[in-house]
């Protein structure tokens, strides 16, 4: 059978492969090459070695953005997962209205980042109005604004995954624990949590990469104001590219570092939590 399928390579694989090569592979490899070049368009690229990377070290905004992004990622991963898990626990108790609650909590997830950013800009500015401040008064307002926004958007999504995880725990297991006289807290700690470890792996992975790569929400909510102090990494890279002429090479070098960081986080995180999963 394999042989007869094999001849059909041009029909089955080629369309995807061509598009993938043109719009992912070549841009990716070219991107790495350009990070070592001075350029304004692709055709006038001149190889200049690692000086783009050296220039990053003189750019304080990059390190501020890196620190800001790291902090934002930690805070939002913890809050989103704790709240999502708590809501999932409540919604698996079989109380009245479970379906409606699930529907409502998930809904914000479908709204796009730009729209979300402007919705929350209105609300947070409205609250800060009573204190005669605005969102762009200080970067910590932008920070907590983004945390609230991300929580609103992502809790529903993660909740759905946790609910699926909790529901797949065999009933006998909980029954047995209860027979042995375990309290609710003990069941949660010793049965439920270890059994939903795969869901925790997925959810922390998703929230972490989502937060680290956040762009649209950041652009719409504060656009990096005041003076680039509420810029996350992705927005910092974008502004370096398109906001400062002559800095395209540095922007591309930042993007390469950004990519390496994302890859590193993904690998480390998957390795750590996979080890904690219960063997089944």
């Amino acid at each position: 059978m394999e042989k007869s399928i094999k001849k059909y390579f041009p029909v089955f694989v080629l369309p995807t492969l061509v598009a993938f090569t043109l719009f992912f592979l070549i841009p990716f490899l070219l991107g790495i090459y350009l990070s070592f070049c001075n350029f304004t368009t692709i055709t006038d690229a001149k190889f200049i070695g690692i000086s783009n990377y050296l220039k990053i070290f003189q750019d304080a905004t990059f390190f501020h953005a890196l620190w800001y992004t790291a902090l934002f990622t930690v805070v939002s991963v913890i809050t989103i997962n704790v709240f999502a898990f708590a809501v999932a626990l409540l919604l698996t108790k079989g109380i009245r209205g479970t379906n409606l609650f699930r529907t409502v909590f998930f809904m914000p997830n479908l709204i796009g980042g730009i729209v979300l950013g402007y919705i929350w800009q209105l609300i947070i500015n409205g609250i800060l109005l009573h204190f005669d401040k605005t969102l762009t008064y200080s970067s910590s307002y932008g920070f907590w604004g983004l945390v609230i926004l991300m929580n609103w958007q992502q809790i529903g999504y993660m909740m759905i995954i946790y609910i699926a995880g909790i529901q797949s725990i065999p009933g006998e297991l909980l029954e047995a624990a209860r027979m042995d006289g375990a309290t609710n807290g003990q069941i949660l700690k010793n049965v439920t949590l270890p059994m939903v470890m795969p869901s925790i792996t997925i959810c922390t992975f998703l929230t972490m990469t989502n937060s680290f790569k956040l762009f649209d929400q950041n652009l719409a909510l504060t656009a990096g104001n005041p003076s680039n102090k509420s810029e996350l990494l992705a927005l910092n890279i974008f502004n370096t590219f398109y906001g400062r002429t002559g800095w395209e090479g540095v922007g591309q070098a930042k993007a390469v570092i950004f990519f390496l960081l994302v890859a590193l986080i993904a690998l480390v995180q998957l390795n750590i939590t996979r080890r904690k999963e219960v063997q089944q």
């Binding site: 059978m1 394999e2 007869s4 059909y8 029909v11 089955f12 694989v13 369309p15 995807t16 492969l17 598009a19 993938f20 090569t21 043109l22 719009f23 992912f24 592979l25 070549i26 841009p27 990716f28 070219l30 991107g31 350009l34 692709i42 409540l90 919604l91 109380i95 699930r102 409502v104 909590f105 809904m107 479908l110 709204i111 796009g112 980042g113 730009i114 402007y118 919705i119 209105l122 609300i123 500015n125 109005l129 699926a164 997925i202 998703l206 990469t209 790569k213 762009f215 652009l219 719409a220 992705a234 974008f238 590219f241 922007g251 591309q252 993007a255 950004f258 990519f259 994302v262 890859a263």
Partner: protein, 297 residues
């Protein structure tokens, strides 16, 4: 005795969750009611309801609930916003791009995923690993080179961008199809082949119907991504001629210095309505798709 307490407990929980649910949709309701208000009232009193006479000098309850001056403007903000952004054109462009990109991604990557799982050699393995690898690449890494590439190939229009989405969205989709094809027993396909089907007939007649749930999962995930995507179309499309909805909304800010809050509120409402309609219509598939997608991804 214990049972009674438990029932009480459940009722209390329902009540608490109901309150949280109301708070949860509040942001959207606040935007909705602001979309009928005058610009100045939106920025000064965003939480007060639109009023036709103004609550100044009335009792405290009215002052808390309604704006102090006359603020109700009817559909003025909508008319204004639609004119400024060309909303209906943007909606049509968004719809066109999303529908055809998702269709093309499903068609091409399901075929590709099946082939990669059934034919095992170095080439197919390499392609598979590249697809997995591509999933973690942040868009900023390729944004400049990708947009230049699309520019050289003259793809800055709604038809061209479909192929860009196929290329950039292929990684996740191929990965998911590969995962699900592995679970299909080989015997079914062999039987079809022995009965004289060629691979194309086998795929469309036998494999694709089995893959239908996966197709829905992939379609949901890709739709959520493409419909809301801002940066890729912003960089690839010729935005003087074509705008998607997120671009049109961001344009309200970019093009006019300070934001016209009235038009902004109206556009936010118009942007959220199709999403809610889509959600209510396909809720079951969306939630199942998210679970299936997360387990595989």
């Amino acid at each position: 005795m214990k049972k009674g307490r438990k029932a009480k407990h459940a009722k209390l929980l329902t009540a608490v969750l109901s309150i949280i649910s109301v708070i949860w949709i509040m942001p959207i309701l606040i935007v909705l009611q602001n979309s009928f208000k005058k610009k100045t009232s939106i920025s000064r009193e965003p939480f007060q309801l639109a009023s036709t006479i103004g609550s100044e000098g009335q009792n405290a309850f009215n002052r808390l609930l309604f704006t102090s001056r006359k603020s109700f403007v009817g559909l003025e903000n909508y008319v204004n916003g639609i004119q400024k952004t060309g909303f209906f054109k943007a909606f049509a462009d968004s719809l066109f791009i999303t529908v055809f990109s998702v269709f093309l991604i499903i068609l091409c990557t399901s075929m590709c995923g099946w082939y990669l799982s059934r034919v095992k050699n170095k080439i197919t393995k390499t392609i598979y690993y590249f697809c997995v690898f591509s999933m973690i690449i942040p868009f900023q890494m390729v944004m400049f080179t990708l947009s230049k590439m699309a520019d050289i190939l003259h793809l800055g229009n709604p038809i061209g961008i479909i192929f860009v989405y196929l290329g950039f969205g292929a990684g996740l989709a191929v990965f998911m199809f590969c995962g699900f094809v592995k679970g299909i027993p080989l015997e079914i396909e062999e039987a079809a082949m022995i009965d004289g089907c060629n691979p194309l007939q086998t795929f469309f007649g036998v494999v694709l119907p089995i893959l239908k749930p996966t197709c829905i999962t992939v379609a949901i995930l890709q739709t959520m991504w493409i419909w809301n995507d801002y940066l890729l179309p912003y960089l690839v499309l010729n935005i003087k001629k074509y705008k998607t909805i997120p671009i049109a909304i961001q344009y309200l800010k970019g093009g006019y210095g300070s934001i016209d809050m009235g038009a902004m509120m109206a556009m936010l409402v118009l942007a959220v309505i199709p999403i809610i309609v889509f959600y209510i219509a396909c809720q079951k598939y969306i939630i199942e798709g998210v679970v299936a997608g997360a387990v595989k991804g």
